[in-house]
Amino acid sequence: MRGWSYLAKRVSFSLMTIFVATTLNFFLFRVLPGDAVRNLSRVPHASPDLKAQLRRQFGLDKSPWEQYLLYLRELAHGNMGISFADQKPVRGAIVEALWNTIPMVLIGTIVAIVIGVATGVLAAWWRGSWKGSIGTSFAIFFYAVPTQWLALVLLIAFAGLLPSHGMSDPYLLDDSTGAKLIDLGRHLVLPATTLALTLYGEYALITRSAMLETLGEDYVLTARAKGLLPRVIVRRYALRNAMLPVTTLIALSLGYLVAGAILIETVFSWPGIGYAAYQAVVERDYPMLQGTFLVLTFSVVLFNLIADLLYARLDPRITL
């Protein structure tokens, strides 16, 4: 029973957070220099009438408070507005972008978690030897490297071998499902690899330091005194306990991923949510910006909640 009331409390707190973030976002975009009207009316012979007309059409002639209340009312009905740029409903565009982002982010993240945790465990186990140093050095390198730089290097290195742009080949002759999937997979390789490499370093370093801590605990010494095999000690004792902070940190970092792949999606023109956010900033497309940021806020808050619940699930000492 205590668990449910805790959950209710956490969920209502999360909703509050989302509301506050949404409000801040709404006003934040409106203090950005430049606006959508100036952008759209950048045509020869644009008259003040045209600008006023656009302003009225987008509702930008109303006061910010009016616009805000209008936005909230429509949002409550599930309406995220019409994009300034292409006059299409934002919701459909965001759902489509999300569907494009998720496979790429999911694959990249899973690869990063597997490689990162494995590297971290081995680097901790081999601490002080050259094998451990190599693992740690690579992790630090990929943690430190700017995402867009790594993306460009991979792009240059594999251009020609693998598609570098978008998520499907428009000139694909064979339109069977299998061929389409293979084509998607080939497009996925570079962005997903970039994501995996930039993430794995961080995961490896977190895992390593958590492992070094648990390997020094008394219960690990007890486990060794009991004559358990090293791999059992690492898995059941050191890693199992190290996974408590690691899981939380990974869950938290996943929250940023949904929209956080902006740099990668921009370099590889991957039509996902990050790329949509980038485009919306360029075009000062307020409804689209609000939509993408709402998704980002939602995912950060959601994964925070998941991290909390997961922690309680993994650690018997924590009851909700």
Binding site: G128, E217, D218, Y219, L221, T222, A223, R224, A225, K226, G227, L228, L229, V232, R236, Y237, R240, N241, L244, L314, D315, P316, R317
Partner: protein
Amino acid sequence: MTLLEVRDLNVWYSLDEGGENHAVRDLSFTLDRGERMGLVGESGCGKTTALLALMALLPPSASVSGQVLLDGQDLLAGGEAIARQHRWRDLALVFQGAMNAFNPVRRIEDQIIEPMLTHGTRTSDSARDRARELLEMVGITAAAGRRFPHELSGGMRQRAMLAMALACEPRVLIADEPTTALDTMVQAQILALLTRLSDELGLAVLLVTHDLPVVSQVCSRAVVMYAGGLAEAGPVADLFHRPAHPYTRLLFEATPDLHSDREVVSIPGAPPRLDEPIVGCSFRPRCDVPLEVCSDRAPRPLSVADNPGHVAACWHNGGAR
């Protein structure tokens, strides 16, 4: 009859900044079957290092020389694989306080079962029965085995730790300050339990502590360590009434006694640094009766008054000039 014999045990830790810390120096002692022996000395004198060396559990930065003979078989000669087979089956270890000696995310029972399955001494089902039996034997209910370590009190956890130590029916139980973190009542209960188990199971106990009253209460013999080496060893009564090493005498004088008016003294000074060579007797700077020879040469452990069970490393105890 001798069960465990430690011969000329030396441990050096290599230090990060270069040099070595000679933590255990030429330590030799024997432990008989079913005997309870204390290993006494102040903090940092190498007690814990010595017992970790017995089980080959020291970190890679440590180098060890000497022999640890169990029924004549050297436990340290065969490398990690051989040492692992002896752990818990022959030598089991109970740690200080046992606060963190259990894995916090596994149930007590599962942790008791683990060594039996690893060493193949029991099948899965009989191991579970055995775990419940052991928990009842140490005075907690078998149901407590289904709990997580944090759900038990400190005293219960230390009892569970003892139950775990007995899982594979070891011949020697090494207890490293098993009662330090517990309050006095619980401490007395745990020591009584330890004594009872040792009597009932014929279990040899090596009790490592800095608490002399505990040693005299539980053990028949004791080894007094100073600066990594043996200062004096013998029956507890002899150590108390006829100490042959000034350190032993001063240790007892430094222990408060309710039943006498004797003043409690402290031993001035501090133990020597172990990362530098020690010339002469390691206790000389703090000794209240130093001789001239003490600063030149280190005394060797010799029998006291021709009693082979009582040895002391002190020039007052004789030895060739």
